[in-house]
Amino acid sequence: MAKTSQSNMSSWLKQPGVLAALPASLFLLIGFAGPLLLVVAYSFMPSKTFTLLQAPTIENYSSIISDSYYISFFWSLAMALTTVVLLFIICYPIAYGMAKLFNKWANLVTALIAVPILISENIRLFGWVLILLKNGVFDGSMQSLFGLSISGLLFTVPAITLGLVYVYLPFMLFPLVIGISMVPETLKEAASDLGATRWQIFREIELPLSMPGLMIGGILTFVLVLGSLAEAKILGGQAIVMIADDIESAFTFAQNWPKGSALSVLLIALSGIIVFLLFRRVDLDRVIGRR
C-alpha cells in the first residue's frame, strides 16, 4: 500500500507540468510566501522587539484597535474607492475609443498613456507640485493672464486625489480596453435590431460583458491605492495620513517592527478579503480568452 502511494507520488512528481512549475513555485515560496510569513510572525511578537524568539502576544493588534489607526484605514479605503470611481468615469470613454473607434490611432494613444509609466512616480508627482504650488505654473499663469490668484491647491485632499488618479490611470485603462474589446459587435447589432435604445445597449450588453475588465482594473487600482504613500506625502503635505505611512513610521521612526507588521497584516487581510470577494465574480479564463 505504502509502496503504491510512493510510486504514485514519484510519478506525479515526474509529470512535466509539476516539473515545469517547480522553479516558479520555489521562487514564490522563498520570495513571496517567506517574507509574508515573517511579517505575520513578527506581528505576534511583543512590542518594540527585534527577534522572533519570544512568547507570542496579541498586544499589537489590541493596541491598534484601541488607538486611532481606524482614521488611517478609513482614509486609505476612502481614497481607494474614490480613485476607482473617478478612474472608471474617466477611463471608460477613452477605453471605448481605443477598443472600438480610434482604429490605427489606438496604438498612438496607448503609447502616449504608457510612456509616463517609464518615468519615476516621484518625479511625476514633483512636476505636479511645481504646477500647483503658490506662484507655481498654474497660479502664476492665472495671475498673469486673468489677474486671478488661485493658490491653496497644494497640500489638500483634492490634490492627493488628482495625484492618485493621474498615477494609477493606466492600471484601470488597459484592463478596461481588453474588457470592452471582448464585447461582440454582433450582439449590439442584434439588440439594436430588436429595438433597444443606446442606453439599454450600454446597460444590458456592453457594461455586463466588459465587467471582467472593469473588475480587474478596479481591483488593481483599489489595491495599489490602498498601499500608496507618495501622493499623500508629496502632493498632500500629509493633509491625511494613509495607512502605508503609519506602517513606514512604525518600522522606522518608532522602531516598532511588531506593530508595523501587525498593521501590514491587517492591510493585507483587508485587501485580500476585498479581492477575494470581487474575484468570485470574475471568470479569469474568459478574460484572457481561453474560453
Binding site: S68, S72, Q238, F251, F253, A254
Partner: protein, 386 residues
C-alpha cells in the same frame, strides 16, 4: 576547427546554467562571504559622503572599488544593520547618540585605534577636543568613530515675514501663537519633531518624564499639528513652500535644511536657535554626525583609511559642501580648513551666528520616553484637523 552547435535542447540547458550563475552572482551576501575584500569598501552614510567629489579621489589613490548608499533616517540605517547588513557595510555614518547608546552595545560597530585617530580630534573645533563624549563608549575607553559634520537644528523662518530677533526670543512658542495657525509647515523628521515639541511644551526631552509632562507633550503635539499648513519629509519642498510664501516658517529645521536655499541666494531663509528654553536654560539642539567602522565579519582593511582620508582639509571641505545640504564641519577648527570656504559659503551655513547658536544648544541625545511620546505624536498626526 571546433564547431559550436546549438540545438534547442542545449540552448535551454545553457540558458539554465547561465541564469543560475547570474542569480548567484547577484546575491551580494554570498559573494561577499568568501571574497578578498582588500580593495573594496562599502559605505552607508547620510548624503555627502556618497558624492563622487568625495569618493573618486579615494578610489584612485587606493585603487579601490567603493560602493556608497545614502541613508534617509538614522533609525532606518540602524535597523538595516540589525537585520544583518553588518555583512554588507564597512562604514556607517549616523548622528551622535546611536553609536554610543545603541550600535556599540549591540555589537554593530567596532572601536577604532585611539593612537591613530586622537590626533585628528586635537585639530578640531574646541568643543570637540578629545576625549569627545559622543565618540567614546559609555566607559570612556574605546573610540567609536570620527566627527565631521554638525549643526544646530531647531526651526527655520522667512526673515522677511518673521524677524530673526523675534524668532530667537519666542523660540518654539512661536508655533503655539494663534496668529501662526496655517502659516507654518512641519518637516516630518519625526524623532526631531518629538524633541522640539517637548521644548515647545517647556519640557527637557532628554530626561525621564512624569505622567503630567507626557500628557502636556501630547496636547502640544496636537496643537502644533492642527495649526500646520503642510507636512512633508522633503526639505526641498519645504524650502520651496517658504520661498513661495506658502508658509512663513517650518517646525524642525536648521543649517542643514536652510543652507541649500541660502546658497541659492534666498538669504531670507534662516535656521533659528531659540535664545532660551527648558534644557538648563537652553532652547536649541545640535546634531553631530559620527562615522564609525561597522563590525563586518569579513571587513575591508580600507575602512580606517577612509576615516583618515576624510579628515584631510580639501576632503573636509568637500564633505561640508557635498550635494544636497551644506553644513559646518568640526575640522573648521583648523585655519587650513576654514580658509577653503568662500564668504558666500560661510554665509550659507550661517557661520556668523554658529558660535552663538552652539552656545544656546544642547547635544542631540536619546529621549528615554521616546516610545511613549511617539504613540501620542503619531496619533496627533493621524487625528490632525485640516
Amino acid at each position: 576547427m571546433l564547431k559550436y552547435q546549438l540545438s534547442r535542447r542545449n540552448f535551454l540547458q545553457q540558458t539554465g546554467v547561465w541564469a543560475a550563475a547570474a542569480s548567484f552572482g547577484g546575491l551580494p551576501n554570498l559573494a561577499y562571504a568568501a571574497s578578498d575584500r582588500s580593495k573594496e569598501l562599502n559605505i552607508y552614510c547620510w548624503e555627502g559622503y556618497n558624492s563622487d567629489d568625495v569618493l573618486d579621489p579615494f578610489r584612485k589613490e587606493f585603487a579601490a572599488k567603493v560602493r556608497a548608499e545614502g541613508l534617509t533616517s538614522d533609525p532606518d540605517a540602524v535597523n538595516r544593520l540589525r537585520a544583518g547588513e553588518t555583512k554588507v557595510w564597512d562604514i556607517i555614518n549616523v548622528n551622535n547618540p546611536w553609536a554610543r547608546e545603541m550600535m556599540y552595545p549591540e555589537g554593530l560597530i567596532k572601536p577604532i585605534p585611539r593612537e591613530r585617530f586622537d590626533p585628528y580630534y586635537d585639530k578640531m573645533m574646541p568643543a570637540f577636543k578629545p576625549p569627545y563624549k559622543w565618540a567614546m563608549d559609555a566607559k570612556g575607553k574605546d573610540l567609536l568613530g570620527m566627527t565631521q559634520r554638525f549643526g544646530p537644528f531647531s526651526f527655520v523662518v522667512n526673515t522677511d515675514k518673521i524677524s530673526r530677533k523675534m524668532a530667537e526670543d519666542q523660540g518654539f512658542k512661536l508655533f503655539l501663537d494663534p496668529a501662526m495657525k496655517g502659516r507654518y509647515g512641519i518637516l516630518t523628521y519625526d524623532n526631531w519633531n518629538i524633541y522640539h515639541m517637548c521644548i515647545a511644551a517647556d519640557i527637557d526631552p532628554f530626561r525621564k518624564h512624569t505622567k503630567a509632562e507626557i500628557t502636556k507633550f501630547g496636547e502640544v503635539a496636537k496643537q502644533i499639528f492642527n495649526g500646520a499648513k503642510n507636512l512633508t519629509d522633503d526639505l526641498v519642498a519645504m524650502n520651496l513652500a517658504l520661498i513661495n510664501g506658502e508658509i512663513d516658517a517650518y517646525f524642525t529645521g536648521g543649517t542643514y535644511t536652510a543652507s541649500p536655499a541660502r546658497l541659492d541666494g534666498a538669504k531670507n531663509i534662516r535656521g533659528i536657535t531659540p535664545n532660551s528654553g527648558p534644557m538648563g536654560g537652553k532652547g536649541g539642539i545640535v546634531w553631530i554626525e559620527l562615522t564609525s567602522v561597522v563590525n563586518n565579519p569579513n571587513p575591508s582593511p580600507l575602512a580606517e583609511d577612509f576615516l583618515e582620508y576624510v579628515q584631510r582639509p580639501d576632503v573636509s571641505k568637500k564633505v561640508a559642501f557635498a550635494e544636497g545640504t551644506y553644513n559646518p564641519v568640526t575640522q573648521m577648527g583648523s585655519q587650513e580648513v576654514l580658509s577653503t570656504f568662500s564668504k558666500e559659503e560661510l554665509d550659507a551655513i550661517q557661520w556668523d551666528s554658529l558660535e552663538q547658536e552652539m552656545a544656546n544648544s544642547v547635544d542631540y541625545d536619546i529621549n528615554p520616553d521616546y516610545a511613549e511620546m511617539y504613540e501620542l505624536y503619531s496619533a496627533a498626526k493621524r487625528e490632525r484637523k485640516t
